[in-house]
Subunit: 116 residues, 2 copies
C-alpha cells in the first residue's frame, strides 16, 4: 500500500573537485550566476547576503583551479571596475546545473520505489 503523502524526501549535494580541492558546487555556481547577472562581485555578494571577502575567496579559488579563466576582473576605472563571467564560465554554470538536475531526477525515481 502506498501512502498518499510521505514526508520522507531525498536530498543531494554534488560538487566537482580537482586534486582534492573543491572546484565548483552548489554555492559557487549560485554566486557565479549572480556575478553574471550583476557584473560585480560586491553586488553579487550583497544580494546573496554574503561578505565580499567570502565571495571573493570562493570565486578566486575557483578561478585558480579552472583550466581556463572563469572571470575577467577589472579594477578601477569607470564605476570602479567590475567582473564579467567568461564564456567558459557560462558553460560551467550550464553543465553543472544540468548535471544537478539529472541527478535529482535520477534520485527521485530511485527513491520513490523504495520503502523506508
Amino acid at each position: 500500500m502506498l501512502k498518499v503523502r510521505d514526508a520522507m524526501e531525498i536530498k543531494s549535494r554534488l560538487w566537482i573537485e580537482k586534486e582534492g580541492k573543491p572546484f565548483i558546487g552548489f554555492g559557487r555556481i549560485k554566486l557565479l550566476k549572480e556575478v553574471e547577472k550583476t557584473a560585480s562581485i560586491s553586488a553579487a555578494a550583497k544580494t546573496l547576503k554574503m561578505s565580499y571577502k567570502k565571495a571573493w575567496n570562493l570565486l578566486n579559488d575557483m578561478d585558480k583551479i579552472a583550466k581556463q579563466p572563469v572571470l575577467v576582473k577589472n579594477v578601477g576605472g569607470k564605476n570602479g571596475g567590475g567582473t564579467e563571467v567568461t564564456e567558459y564560465g557560462k558553460t560551467l554554470i550550464q553543465k553543472f546545473e544540468r548535471l544537478n538536475t539529472n541527478c535529482i531526477k535520477f534520485l527521485e525515481e530511485e527513491f520513490h520505489q523504495l520503502d523506508l
Copy 2:
C-alpha cells in the same frame, strides 16, 4: 582529444529528510554499521573517533524519526548493556548504501562525458 588523466572528479552526498529534519545520511549510516558490528554505541563512537555524546545524539535523532525502531538499547546488566540494530535498521543500511552506489555510478557516467 581526451586526456588520459584528468584530476577532476565528481563528488556527491545524499541524505534523506523527514519534515526538514535529517533522517539518514552518510555519517549516520556509517555509525549505524559500526553499532551493528560492535553492539555498542560507545564502542562504535570510539572506533569512529567520535564523542559518545555525538554518536548518541545522531542515533537517537534517527531513531525518533524512523517509523519503526532502528535500535534496541539495553541499559545496565551484563557488560553494562549494549545496543543492537533491528532488522529494520539493517534494511535501512542496505537500501541507503545501494542508493548511494547507484547515484555515484550514475554521476560518474554523466560526468565522464562532460568536458570541464
